[in-house]
Symmetry: D2
Subunit: 346 residues, 4 copies
């Protein structure tokens, strides 16, 4: 690494994720934040939107100007809501293919454009652009990420679920005819800061809210990546819930294996699979990940039990949805793109 | 009581309080719900707004028609937001002074109209009506309530604070030159169901939110009632906070007494003062009320410690803000107005 | 019902469930509490253990004396921990077969004694007694309960799970070769009041704790009842978790049906099945039970979605674990045994 | 700073604070952890007690041996419970006055030994040692800390309260005859991990627990430091509560000033007072600190309102009790002792 620091921009800087991204970027030893952009709220001190940044940073939001970003930044992070900002992102892509872009939305994650119509309820305006973005799950795609300039940063649920079963799919251990069953619990930060009834404290406190039982938009993202791993079409049951805490996702995943396997073999397989990856922690059998162990970190923790009576493998995984499921993974991707240590600044 | 049941109406039936009111009224042995009214959402099944009523009640909201209420009801409960529905309430007052009205808003609590301008930021359109409504705090005003047709049901904070110190003010034990200090914590139900940023779970979870430190609109209500008790002007410091739970208020109140008093005398005084009142529980010294002991009940629990070193009496009180601080007290008032047992249906 | 009230006793009156039982029994119009018994803590005011009972009841605990219970009570509720008090319960059974006994522990729920060794880690001292106790799930066994004197009150998880799928098993709609998958979340009250690290707030707050993934002791209870319904051996995957709230259980259940069925047929089937049962609420498709709708009630709410892509029926059920999963169901059983309205006192 | 890293030891490594201390020390660029000591649990992997350290550190606990610490460490952190380990700490003090010791307990905070009898209920075995330990509140005592080898790290409540009013006391703005009133809310981590009924989730969830209303052991610590600042005896009312979250303290402090002051003057005074101190954030008037802004940081946030009607200044302060109220401040003290940037590793 040269001595001069890499200059980065953040587009969409008023939402929940961007606040945490700015905090981590600000503390990252190899970069400086050149600009934070908010179309809707330009020229406002960033700590107005993210009060925890008071006394830490003094950035003011700027208007979106593609020149400014292309001329002055080497990396641009996009934190726009799903379906927003696609054209802007592609302006940068088209005009400077050297600029690195890490997009934290779902805008470029799915490779089959029709899935946006089906699951996101919008028609993707530039379907041909989808292949240009590498799916930025570092533990599976590190080689591609190293070579990429454009990254689609994975969703929070998909990160925690794909990592939890990838070794099984990659090694063809799952029963192809029995679909995967995933029951997931997320804290309220998963929904960001926008006002809506479901995320009012009066509904969340002392409650579990089940939603989108068959139609959550992360479903095709998980299926796409598992299908790639298995090389056979994967269909899943994915049921998400909101639980009364702020950060974290816990998944309980029920897997039918092709054949009986000792639980210790499973553990060994996972430990081998994830050996080079500092952010994956594989637990010993019958010990389970908890949010309290991953909160505030970029770890994905994975634990197991094998139910002898039903011949079912139960995989439990947990992440901090904002860090490993969002801004931490984005920085991990940047680190990999620049050849830095994967955990710098994390 | 005659065998025929009293017919009641509920106006403003989509907000948080009205759901609980309808639940309690529905189970009350001496009344039947004749109509539930929603101007903004007429002709909709009530359990749409209050899903916990599914399978319990089958009411549909009606439009507001004063004739309907006057002709068919003997009691009407108003659950409109503060500043709304004043004219409608007074339509009923004017046209049928036999109809009993229990208003759960702040619309008729303050007797000095200018306080609405100052604290609620609206000009009361019918200041002359204010004296017609009895302040419905049963433990202090039972005699007036018995004779009244129009009740202003107290606010949640005021209920829990006035009851916590009334014996001291009534008996002139407080130091008149030293203002009362009240630090209060409320669950999120205090803010109802309306969308707003402060009550989003992302802000409430794992947090304390301090608000309106010097200008909460319940301040003049508390001062009005304590001034009546002391017969001397009372000014208070009242600092409210929101804490991460749904129901309940806990107050910590610091009182400077006129002269030294044994804590046991205080306890005896309170027990005597509240003897006839089934919903007040006075704790032994150095045991403190907690939300878990009052949740779901119409109790107001009161406990004490005396700090010898600072010569300060500390009073802790707790209520369920929705029950004793709202719908429970409204029913308690109705019970008293009809001469029924105070705790029927509670 | 005659005018004289039924006299009841409560044995094991210091644990979490007994406090709520005493509260409900105290308010029940057809009974009086004759005695509350605590072997370990006799002669102590009951509100010492259950402070929310202050000012409501004035019972003092008595020592366990079988004569006292047999001579003076018509119903005795046992609230002892699992594995405790079996001999005492049977003393009463043996000496007065007219005395009604409702046991809230697991001591008499399983009909095959060896399951206690396997799942509860104790050897049942009186295996022959197990058949004498009717499994008290009123919506399935009302006829037997009516005739019974000895009731084994179901566990909290089993209540909420068995009711959620009973119509499918009873009507042989489930695929016999594909095991049921149940992912369950319970509030901390499920663990009672005993000190243990897992239920310390430092571990529960802002967390999900997964435990007993393959060996929870409620597993055989669920399997026993589903096997009875299906008339074929049922094996389940049941994964319990603790979530950061006090009351309530939510289950997400994945069912493979024998053949494709329209979701509306399922809903109709359930509504028909549970028609006579006031405490079961069947939701319209794609609306899901939440704890906030059942908290403090004896309801079991059940909702559904059908995943077309995976041909999986997802059933969501919710109860208040302390009420429908404990003391409320115990009282419902008593009501049925006496021929009273099922929901008297609930 | 030389290139070689400072070697540190941690004594008492199984409690809650020590886990977070080890995490921060492990990431600190200028030090290495030489040894972690647990008398009661030697020779056990440290992540057994602090599972979030899995995959981060691989330390094993050692027995306490003073030689080992004196010979191999340059700094030793003591994280023993209050009243424990005094003799061990002093063994190190006596035998190597060059060794730096940072004690996180209350063992050496109070300078008047009799206060231990009165407030902690133990007799301090080595009262003469108390003066040797500098009270490690960096924003007030930086000069002394720089020169000190032995530091008594402040308590969590005292840190957040003393900092909140220090500028007023230092500048003699408080009314000497009117005692300070402090109402404080802490998350459950304040009580550590030891089993006790008050901190069971069944009691903490959806609740506020008031405790030690007149006799909390942090009272004399706050009074001692405010007395030093004012140069006149200070007596306070300090009422602590536990609220349902894990980390954080919020204080509401009511101050009677000697004379009327504009709120902006107050803010200026505080900003001036804390100018050199990176971890103090002074808010603009009528904006209040919240736990969500300080969680996970070493900040102490301070905000104000002035109540014109009662002539009372209300100060709100918030910290993360584990970081600024514990391990973060300990590291801040170490940084100052070594002349490093105050916020290295924080």
């Amino acid at each position: 690494m040269s001595n001069s620091k890499i200059k980065v921009g953040v587009v969409g800087s008023t939402g929940l994720l961007s606040g945490f991204l700015i905090k981590l970027l600000h503390a990252h030893p190899h970069i400086t934040i050149e600009t934070v952009v908010s179309e809707s709220n330009p020229n406002i001190s960033i700590d107005t939107f993210h009060p925890f940044l008071r006394g830490i940073t003094t950035y003011k939001t700027e208007e979106f100007k593609s020149n400014r970003l292309i001329d002055d930044c080497q990396v641009v992070f996009f934190c726009k809501p799903h379906g927003k900002g696609i054209e802007q992102t592609l302006q940068l892509v088209d005009r400077s293919r050297d600029l690195k872009i890490i997009d934290l939305s779902a805008n470029f994650r799915l490779k089959q454009a029709s899935l946006y119509d089906e699951w996101y309820k919008f028609t993707h305006p530039f379907p041909e652009s989808l292949v240009e973005f590498v799916y930025g799950l570092p533990e599976l795609n590190a080689e591609e990420i190293k070579k990429a300039n454009f990254i689609a940063n994975p969703g929070c649920y998909p990160t925690s679920i794909i990592l939890a079963v990838a070794p099984l799919y990659k090694n063809k251990l799952v029963h192809p005819k029995k679909d995967l069953i995933i029951d997931s619990y997320s804290g309220v930060s998963g929904a960001g800061k926008q006002l809506n009834s479901r995320n009012m404290a009066i509904n969340v406190e002392a409650n579990i809210i089940t939603y989108k039982v068959t139609d959550h938009q992360h479903t095709p993202e998980i299926e796409q990546e598992l299908t790639k791993l298995l090389n056979e079409e994967v269909i899943i049951n994915f049921v998400p819930h909101v639980a009364p805490f702020k950060y974290g996702i816990v998944n309980t995943i029920f897997v039918k294996l092709r054949s009986k396997i000792e639980i210790n073999e499973i553990v060994d397989l996972y430990r081998q699979f994830y050996k080079p990856h500092p952010f994956i922690r594989i637990y010993s059998p019958d010990i389970y990940p908890e949010i309290q162990y991953v909160e505030g970190t970029n770890f994905c923790d994975i634990g197991f039990s094998y139910n002898q009576r039903t011949e079912t493998l139960i995989v439990i995984s947990a992440i901090d949805n904002v860090i490993k499921g969002g801004v931490g993974q984005a920085i991990q991707n940047m680190n990999i793109m620049y050849g830095w240590d994967e955990n710098i600044g994390l």
